[in-house]
């Protein structure tokens, strides 16, 4: 199952090869060309009419995580965050270190030894370490090395009636949306450029160079975005809610969505009876922030699957939102075939 395989894959920013290999295998039979660029972006092309527009769809392969920085004489590992990691979620979590998935635990000074003022505050990254069971530095060095990425050891699970729990739905759910679209047994009259990007979580780096080389006429980025529809949040700060359909963005901290594309997406959704919601926060940024400023500017939007607890060891989506995101995008691509670009 694609969501399970993708979310359990190892892919800290800059080390996306395992995710890329899974996606390459999945989409290659359906694409005219699949290649990897210098920064590690996986680019899958479905050819259309040569005179037609170029439509770029993107989703980032990388996930937030940690990186080994130093191996202590004791054999424990010091680490730093890659991407936006909340240090308060780290203590006592099970992790895998490196592509060989060496199991470990994020340790900290036990509660018995903490001073009163220490116990009142969450640990910061420098107060944490990873224990891979090594007796000393020599033993640890045989298993891991500085620079190794570290992921949360979370298994995918279907939970509730339509929901799923996993790490890295941000943005493997976007990768799954894009893969499913590419795997439709169909060619359009325009060229479809499917780009699985590298290094989004550290600043949209892969998307920038991929869109520079591909020069698309329009770009749509797929994301797993914040859903804060939980106790303690006020309704106007939910941003998105699970189960209400894919979310469309008007503006976030990185870009203003092209209003003509947003309007077309809404029309297509209404016409086909596909539920959707507006993302009601303007914080955060995505690959679209980089893409829309490439060369002379590329009209861009973001379509997201609402995701609770993103950037943590376990996030939750509603699979109906995932399926509806695919339906919406398939209908949107058909609308380009029938009516051309929305501008």
């Amino acid at each position: 199952m694609l969501l399970k395989t993708l979310t359990e894959a190892f892919g800290v920013s800059g080390q996306e090869q395992e995710v890329a290999a899974i996606l390459r295998e999945q989409v290659s039979p359906y694409c005219d060309k699949v290649e990897t660029d210098a920064l590690g972006n996986l680019i899958a092309i479905k050819n259309g009419n040569e005179k037609g527009p170029k439509v770029m769809l993107s989703a980032h392969m990388d996930e937030i995580g940690l990186m080994v920085m130093y191996i202590e004489n004791s054999g424990t590992l010091r680490f730093k965050p890659i991407g936006g990691v909340d240090p308060r979620v780290l203590v006592s979590k099970s992790v895998y270190v490196g592509k060989d998935r060496v199991p470990g635990v994020i340790g900290a000074k036990p509660i018995h030894l903490q001073k009163r003022e220490e116990a009142d505050k969450p640990f910061d990254i420098d107060g944490l370490f990873i224990d891979i069971g090594a007796k000393d530095k020599d033993e640890a060095e045989k298993l891991v090395k500085p620079g190794d990425g570290i992921i949360f050891a979370t298994k995918y699970q279907d939970i509730g009636t339509s929901r799923a729990k996993a790490k890295a739905f941000d943005d493997r759910v976007g990768c799954a949306v894009l893969a499913r679209l590419l795997m439709m047994d169909k060619q359009w009259n325009f060229t479809l450029q499917g780009v699985f990007t590298a290094q989004e979580e550290v600043g949209g780096r892969g998307a920038q160079v991929a869109s520079y080389s591909l020069e698309p006429d329009i770009a749509i980025a797929f994301e797993g975005t914040t859903a804060s529809d939980v106790p303690g949040s006020k309704e106007h700060l939910y941003s998105t809610s699970l189960g209400k359909g894919p979310a469309l963005t008007h503006a976030d901290a990185s870009f203003v969505a092209d209003p003509r594309i947003v309007k077309r997406l809404m029309e297509v959704a209404d016409k086909n009876g596909i539920p959707y919601q507006m993302r009601e926060l303007t914080t955060g940024g995505t690959d679209a922030g980089r893409i829309h400023l490439v060369r002379e500017g590329i009209p861009a939007v973001v379509v997201s699957v609402p995701t609770r607890y993103i950037h943590s060891p376990a996030s939750i989506i509603d699979k109906c939102d995932f399926e509806n995101a695919i339906k919406l995008m398939a209908a949107f691509l058909d609308s380009i075939e029938e009516r051309g670009l929305p501008f």
Binding site: E235, H236, A251, V256, E280, T282, E296, G297, P299
Partner: protein, 327 residues
């Protein structure tokens, strides 16, 4: 221009206002993918890009509740304290007042504790007037008192007016440069429009015209810029160090033509010169600013003489052989 509607991300109305002003003054007027308005004077000589951003700070609707109150976020740098008592206007003319939740301490005021009240009786009637994603701007008229003007959006309609006026004065005159006057979008959101426009134009020399802060009010932050003492020639801000040859050329041009000027070191903030000078293989670039008090409030203040002198300086710059002077 200052009363025109054009918050960052929704610049179509101010773009129409400027387009009407520049059509007929130049050879070609185009709009690019981002929405930048580009007025082109073709001819001989190096390509000179001059950017004036036409967007103003504003707000964006993020949520409409069942009672009809509208939650919002900022488009550009907005202090919540500055919103109390202000009015917002949307593209369709809907006007709203800013309100806030009950707070025990005013220091806790944040944008997400505020809302816009458009006088709607409930959520359904509010949604007839505004939608999530609608972008609004301050609603304020301009006042001219003596040499001074008090208005919203002098940042950066003052720069737009300077650039339009310079084009007007150069109309019909031969000059040794090709001019790309760009009225940029989304400057307030991170200098975005200028980035793509500069890439497309691929200029040989770049300039921006914007507003800058002053140090001439009671207990002001230290800054050697005063209202009425001339436009500023930028030395540096957060995103650019003016190219030394460009800066020397600008100061020499001002002195030769008897135009008063001040040197500007802006410690916070940046302008479109930033992305322009880093375009492609790099573009020697400078900036002229109009000294302005109370920037990013609905009541900014500038001196008309500074704008007139900025026009004179741009006219003199564009009449010079820039390839010999700078390149």
């Amino acid at each position: 221009m200052v009363e025109a509607f054009g918050p960052a991300g929704n610049e179509s109305r101010i773009r129409d206002v400027i387009r009407k002003e520049v059509e007929g003054l130049v050879d070609e007027v185009t709009v690019d993918a981002m929405g930048n308005l580009i007025a082109i004077r073709r001819g001989q000589g190096p390509r000179v890009m001059i950017a004036a951003h036409m967007d103003e700070i504003g707000v964006i609707v993020t949520h409409i509740d069942d009672e009809g109150f509208v939650r919002f976020s900022n488009m550009g740098g907005i202090s919540p304290f500055m919103l109390i008592g202000q009015r917002v206007i949307f593209d369709n003319g809907t006007i709203g007042a800013f309100g806030m939740e009950k707070l025990d301490d005013m220091k806790d005021l944040k944008l997400n504790k505020m809302f816009i009240d458009i006088g709607a009786k409930d959520g359904a009637s509010a949604k007839e007037k505004v939608s999530i994603g609608d972008i609004g701007a301050f609603h304020r008229e301009a006042h001219f008192q003596g040499d001074r003007v008090i208005a919203k959006s002098l940042d950066n309609r003052a720069g737009c007016a300077v650039l339009v006026q310079a084009l007007k004065e150069l109309a019909g005159r031969e000059i040794p440069n090709q001019v790309y006057a760009v009225f940029t979008v989304q400057e307030e959101l991170g200098l975005r429009g200028a980035k793509t426009a500069a890439y497309g134009i691929n200029p040989d020399v770049g300039f921006a015209v914007d507003v800058t802060g002053t140090g001439d009010t009671p207990e002001a932050p230290t800054m050697a810029v005063k209202l009425g003492e001339g436009p500023t020639i930028k030395v540096k801000d957060r995103v650019v160090l003016t190219h030394p040859r460009v800066r020397r050329f600008m100061t020499e041009t001002a002195e030769k033509n008897g135009i008063p000027y001040q040197l500007e070191i802006l410690e916070g903030g940046g302008t479109d010169t930033g992305p322009i000078h880093l375009t492609r293989e790099g573009v020697p670039s400078g900036a002229i600013s109009v000294p302005t008090r109370y920037i990013h409030t609905p009541s900014e203040m500038a001196d008309m003489n500074d704008m007139k002198n900025a026009v004179k300086l741009f006219v003199a710059i564009l009449e010079a052989k820039l390839d010999e002077a700078i390149l």
